[in-house]
């Protein structure tokens, strides 16, 4: 079960943890998402949102790792089709 996309938290409202809601910017589209399951999330964090719910914050250091790995890889000959 799959379709969850990353967005940046623009603002947060709601006091009760389970009713905490954020306005999240997905590439220019701003939509509300429940932050009930990410109590540690703050404005400017990126979150992964599925069916209107943030399931986790994006770990930006981990996100970079694959690109660091790719940068270190040797250039091999072009993949022949």
């Amino acid at each position: 079960m799959c379709l969850a996309i990353p967005g940046k938290i623009v603002s947060i409202s709601g006091v009760d943890e389970l009713m905490r809601v954020g306005r999240v910017n997905f590439g220019g589209i701003v939509k509300e998402a429940s932050l009930a399951f990410v109590p540690h999330a703050r404005v400017s964090d990126y979150v992964i949102v599925h069916a209107g719910f943030a399931l986790n914050t994006v770990d930006e250091d981990e996100a970079r790792k694959i690109f660091n790995y790719l940068a270190k890889m040797e250039d091999l000959t072009e993949l022949k089709e």
Binding site: M1, K8, F37, G52, V58, F67
Partner: protein, 369 residues
């Protein structure tokens, strides 16, 4: 979109593919569990980039596909009742039951609405106190926190006009069932990334050890899938069988604790029938006793009945990775996305639907105008 578009970079994909080629010395069969991964593999042609020794087998990770016909028929019965507003994710609307689908029920004038979030269904219940609002709760563990919070909220609000028809399924029991089958050829798994965002990946360690299969938690973009395959093949080539996390930017080992707590509060583990696979013990979620009064099956008294699948449909063998869509005699002829016979053609993520849409096959019929 940040954290999405950069994982579709062509040069990076080619680099990962080249590395996979470099390290592959033998044939390997890898199953990707999640329908979203199947969709990405076929849509982006990821398997075209792989060496021919690597076979990707498409697993049963499509909750829409594995929802039993009986439950869809129950949904149709409830949706056709007067005074009911039936709400669902868009995915389920075109899934045919024994004779109709939710879209045709809607066309007959019944109140069937697509919602983006289960909380929207709760809002609809608040706005329509004289109607019964039912939500079709389908999904893997990824969606369970959302449906759990909807039930919890409805309970807090004391709503008597909200209920849920539940068909949640759990991934690890399905993997165990597949691996226990004597016909199983799968040698490694790409675990479903977003399922693990919620549940973590502790449950996979005993499976990896017991069946000696690498299990790599993998994301959904092309670079994620290629990277996950690279990590998997690296393990296979060196005889290791460990659990690794490719999708570390979104998945922590312990998963999402607040989400798990709410799931355990609102739901309990129950046996579930998987379309194409049969009943698997302890493989689904149903409402816990404290919340059982929100169960739409009980509220509307929809009786269970036996439904026979079309005899031409071999979805079960496809979901287990034993056959490919093109090997089905009905593929592209009797069975198409417009009139699907079974589970795997029904949702755009099912293996048959994905292949029909994106792959040239000799079996593909002329395009119908």
């Amino acid at each position: 979109m940040k954290f999405l578009d950069e994982y579709r970079d062509a040069r990076a994909a080619q680099k990962l593919a080249r590395e996979i080629h470099r390290i592959t010395t033998r044939s390997w069969k890898i199953m990707e569990v999640c329908g979203g991964q199947t969709h990405a593999i076929v849509k982006f042609g990821i398997d075209e980039l792989l060496p021919s020794q690597i076979e990707l087998i498409h697993g049963p990770g499509c909750p829409v596909c594995v929802t039993p016909l009986e439950i869809i028929d129950k949904a149709l019965k409830i949706a056709a009742l007067p005074n009911v507003i039936f709400t669902s994710f868009g995915d389920m609307l075109r899934v045919p039951g024994s004779s109709a689908d939710l879209l045709s029920i809607k066309a007959q004038g019944h109140d069937v609405r697509i919602v983006y979030s289960p909380l929207d269904a709760v809002k609809i219940a608040l706005q329509n106190p004289s109607k019964q609002v039912v939500f079709f709760g389908v999904g893997f563990e990824t969606t369970a926190p959302a449906t759990a919070l909807a039930i919890f909220r409805a309970s807090q609000l004391g709503l008597t006009n909200f209920s849920m028809l539940i068909s949640h399924v759990l991934v690890p029991p399905a993997i165990e069932t597949l691996m226990s089958s004597p016909d199983c050829r799968v040698q490694a798994f790409l675990a479903a990334g977003h399922v693990c965002t919620v549940m973590g990946f502790e449950e996979y360690f005993p499976l990896a050890a017991r069946f000696h299969v690498p299990i790599v938690v993998t994301g959904f973009e092309p670079l994620d899938i290629l990277h996950g395959i690279l990590m998997t093949v690296t393990q296979l080539e060196s005889g290791r069988a460990e659990v690794e996390n490719q999708y570390a930017r979104a998945v922590r080992r312990q998963g999402n604790r607040p989400a798990q707590e709410l799931i355990h509060k609102v739901f309990k583990v129950v046996p579930r029938k998987w379309r194409g696979l049969g009943e698997i013990a302890q493989s689904g979620l149903g409402l816990s006793d404290a919340y059982a009064h929100f169960d739409a099956e009980i509220r509307f008294g929809v009786a269970t009945h036996v439904v026979r699948e079309p005899k031409e449909c071999i979805a079960g063998t496809i979901l287990q990775g034993l056959k490919r869509p093109a090997e089905c005699p009905a593929f592209g002829k009797l069975c198409t996305p417009e009139h699907p016979l079974g589970a795997t053609m029904v949702s755009s993520e099912g293996a048959c639907a994905a292949y029909y849409r994106y792959r040239p096959f000799a079996a593909k019929p002329e395009v119908v105008a």
